[in-house]
Symmetry: none
Subunit: 209 residues, 2 copies
Amino acid sequence: MPRVSDTRSRILNFIRHFLDRRGYAPTVRDIARGCNISTPSVVQYHLNMLEEQGFIRRDPAVFRSIQLVERKREAISRVPLLGTIAAGSPIPVPAPDSWTTTPEETLQLTGELTQDKKDIYALRVKGTSLVDAFVDDGDIVIIQQITTVEDGELAAVWLKTRQEVTLKKIYREKGRIRLQPANKTMQPMYFAPEEVEVQGKVIAVLRKL
Amino acid sequence: MPRVSDTRSRILNFIRHFLDRRGYAPTVRDIARGCNISTPSVVQYHLNMLEEQGFIRRDPAVFRSIQLVERKREAISRVPLLGTIAAGSPIPVPAPDSWTTTPEETLQLTGELTQDKKDIYALRVKGTSLVDAFVDDGDIVIIQQITTVEDGELAAVWLKTRQEVTLKKIYREKGRIRLQPANKTMQPMYFAPEEVEVQGKVIAVLRKL
DNA sequence: TTGTTTCAGGAACAAGTGTATCAGAAGAGT
DNA sequence: ACTCTTCTGATACACTTGTTCCTGAAACAA
């Protein structure tokens, strides 16, 4: 048991909160003020200890350079919001070079949602044509750009003859393709393989309210 | 067309890279050095412009306080997944002290989804009782724990007499409460105010596939 | 005791750093 | 040409801030 109720961890917590609240690191004197320490030198002492113990990292002689080792850059992927998905209009499949051009907007998602997959883009749903996939007007679908999907996976498909885009579970059957709505109470549709063009695989849907 | 290939965007990019590489913000002079600008005052000028235009935020007289507005929403919050939401069982409202206890699981979400709100938890949907809110079995609803919501907001409500939980848009009317399904084709339901208990406000729905 | 380690307090220095001011150049529009 | 806005340059000031040096108290071990 430490002598005081551990100044050290109090300092660590103060740094955490300061970073959360202000967005940049505190100075020695900020910490002193926040932890009721009367002088910078004491803070300096503890910071040196914390750095030795591997809790923080600092660049010498650089102001506000304290970094928390525990805040290892979490994997955030920036997913481009490339446009809208509507029943009557084709999905705007991104050109290979357009990944770097400025999209309409960018979503910041954790790897938990993107499942760390590559070639991902997002589309905003316009209209209520996708209600049979439990997707409402204004929802955002996250799509991985691939041309073939496994049986049973939810795919974004373009129906050539109908000039229509839809989200359906796809099943290959003998000589035809079955498109099954996510809503189990609804009936499947059948198409010739050449009528169906898989634009991508839906890996997530999100709705902000 | 700007004279040079826009010093401003060069500065912005430099700040981005500096933050990524060093973990803290550059000083005026760091930027000057990195962008081949001969004097701090020019950088200062452009930083003021960038702040006016809403690209960055700075705290006056605080060293290394430049923050990229575009990364404001990057903060990852850990949202506890507290259980399931099913038609027949009450929503497991977290006890005030249980926030720190270990939840079933934890979601990592960016501020973009949590909208930087407080007192947020997540529930996994079990069953198809919420289809009228376009919520499917297995979806995850993000809920902010508040007891009153604005008219028209999607709320998680417990219907006492029915012993049932549902997600509905809530409207206060004279002497009664109207619960409107998110699906506009469906009919509203009416209840006496004391029958309806608001458990929280739905701020997002997400579906991982 | 004695010595050693850890922690707190005070003061001061030197460098880093935001900022203001003045001056002037370069375009754009009239 | 003229004015106006936008941008660049140089210098200087004042404050912020990392750092060092000193003193001293408290705990612990030999």
